[in-house]
């Protein structure tokens, strides 16, 4: 007797579970969360705090805000940031001043911890929301963040 009641109970619990899936099957249009990713690239907007990669914004005069204080280099846990700097004559004051030649960022080593951006006293670097970082060679992941010919924005002090 318990054999048949077991069969009945088994079918009943299966149908109970299927009532949930059946409900979603009938309402499949409503509340779908699947994103058609490569097709929705135009409308896809990441959250503004999303950590994609580190970039250095430049203004229209090709000026950045990096003074070369190397605080980001020190804060980085795994050496993703290298700063090559030199003392050069500042054209405005005529004094020698520490200036960056290259702000090198190794995206391939970066763990997106955000400590460099926390450490930056002049907000020279920030997060970009770009996440499509695949390249054919690892060397493309080493990036020089300051653009060629760029210079420090006047008035930015540490």
């Amino acid at each position: 007797m318990s054999y048949f009641s077991d069969i009945y109970k088994g079918i009943k619990t299966l149908l109970t579970g299927m009532s949930v899936t059946g409900k979603y099957f009938l309402n499949s249009r409503k509340g779908a969360i699947t994103q058609q990713y490569p097709d929705n690239r135009d409308s896809l907007k990441m959250f503004d705090r999303f950590r994609g990669e580190v970039v250095m914004p430049h203004d229209e005069n090709n000026e950045h805000r990096c003074t070369g204080c190397q605080k980001c280099e020190l804060a980085c846990p795994n050496g993703s940031i290298e700063i090559i700097w030199d003392r050069k004559v500042d054209p405005e004051t005529g004094k020698k001043k520490k200036m960056i030649e290259k702000h090198i960022y190794h995206l391939g080593m970066c763990t997106m911890c955000g400590l460099c951006i926390e450490a930056c006293p002049t907000d020279a670097i920030k997060w970009a929301q770009n996440f499509e970082n695949s390249v054919y060679d690892r060397s493309y992941l080493t990036r020089v963040l300051n653009k060629p010919g760029s210079r420090l924005k006047p008035g930015v002090e540490e």
Binding site: I33, F47, R49, G114, L115, A119
Partner: protein
């Protein structure tokens, strides 16, 4: 078991097979050396080290701010709670009192992390015993939490939102609304979990009476988290040693006495309800104030030894730091919940079938990077 060994026509022979390291049911690169007789398991030996990254040694190289992001990579499903553990240890050592706002936000995000982790576990648990549907339901609800994290912390999994002294930045203006939306959404979805899987007769047959862990064994193996609580061992760090804002909320510790796979399942479902209630108590009155207190750019802990334990989604995580007064710790030791929970697998899986081993492992909820570190 007797029938196979005493059958006179066929001689049974013990033999050895590998389960893993690349096996979907081991949830990561864990290798189990099984000695089996037919389908009866005689011996289970976990073989570790396939994803060892020497995080503890790397901590000795890094400054105290830099240690935090390494703990993301241990138990990546409760990364926020891991970060919190390191930050609490450093803050206790420096005797910094963090603002109330920080405590409340840390607790809310910590409980959200726990729900997200249990959602993933629930989906994978169903999948391990043969119900693929649960995977999608669990991930659907986890996705909402991940969106909350992405908007506020900037990352979905390895958030690194805590810093010694507070939080990296303030919560996003949408945070409270999103969390409330999630609570309303999840309260309607959590009963579905029960309808879909808990009452299912196949699931119950697979889990009830399988992998029984007694309370004495749970204590002697150092089990913690839902694994210990399913055996009746009251071991919730949130209850016994409250940290952050957990001393100002009321919640019940989910306890079961059966100690089998089904009890561990029920404890985790119960914990999701409790976490929801903790978030509900806190979300409406997040105190105003600073989101961090200023610390020195170079943090030097006073000479001494410091220990702090927290309750991650898997159990008790302990952080033990020995400082000699320099900017790097002399030694960091993590007491990870996964390691001690895995150690009892070889005890409770013996005598069962291979299918039972998979179901048992699913409710131990192992995250292998947490075991190997």
């Amino acid at each position: 078991m007797e029938t196979t060994t005493n059958n006179s026509n066929f001689k049974s022979e013990e033999y050895f097979i590998n389960m893993g390291p690349q096996h979907p049911a081991t949830h990561g690169v864990l290798r189990l050396l099984l000695t089996i007789d037919g389908e009866i398991i005689k011996k289970v030996e976990p073989d570790l080290g396939y994803i060892h990254r020497s995080i503890e040694k790397m901590c000795e190289r890094d400054s105290y701010q830099q240690i935090v992001h390494l703990t993301d990579r241990m138990d990546y499903l409760s990364s926020h709670i891991n970060n919190e553990a390191v930050c609490l240890t450093v803050e206790n050592a420096l005797q910094i009192e963090v603002p109330d706002r920080v405590k409340v936000i840390r607790t809310i995000i910590g409980e959200l992390t726990r729900i997200a982790s249990h959602c993933l576990w629930w989906g994978v648990m169903g999948m391990d015993v043969g119900a693929l549907t649960t995977y999608f339901y669990g991930f659907r609800d986890r996705e909402m939490i991940n969106d909350i994290f992405e908007e506020t912390c900037g990352a979905r999994l390895t958030m690194n939102y805590n810093i010694p002294g507070g939080l990296m930045f303030d919560i996003h203006p949408n945070f409270v609304k999103r969390v409330k939306d999630f609570i309303a959404h999840f309260k309607t979805k959590l009963p579905e979990y029960d309808t879909l899987l808990t009452g299912n007769v196949i699931f119950q047959k697979r889990t009830k009476g399988v992998g029984i862990l007694t309370k004495e064994d749970a204590i002697s193996f150092g089990a913690s988290g839902p694994v210990g609580r399913a055996s009746g061992y009251s071991c919730d760090v949130r209850k016994h040693h409250p940290y952050s804002a957990l001393d100002r909320v009321t919640f019940n510790e989910a306890l079961k006495t059966e100690g089998d796979t089904f009890a561990r399942y029920q404890v985790r479902i119960q914990e999701m309800w409790e976490s929801l209630s903790i978030i509900e108590q806190l979300i409406d009155n997040i105190p105003e104030g600073d989101y961090k207190v200023a610390t020195n750019a170079v943090i030097k802990l006073p000479k001494g030894e410091y220990y702090q334990k927290v309750e991650t989604a898997r159990g008790e995580l302990g952080v033990y730091i020995i400082s000699t007064g320099t900017k790097n710790p002399y030694r960091v030791k993590f007491r990870s919940p996964g390691f001690s929970n895995l150690s009892l697998l070889s005890h409770i899986a013996v005598g069962g079938k291979i299918g039972d081993l998979v179901a048992t492992m699913a409710t131990l909820d192992i995250v292998v990077p947490d075991i190997d570190r």
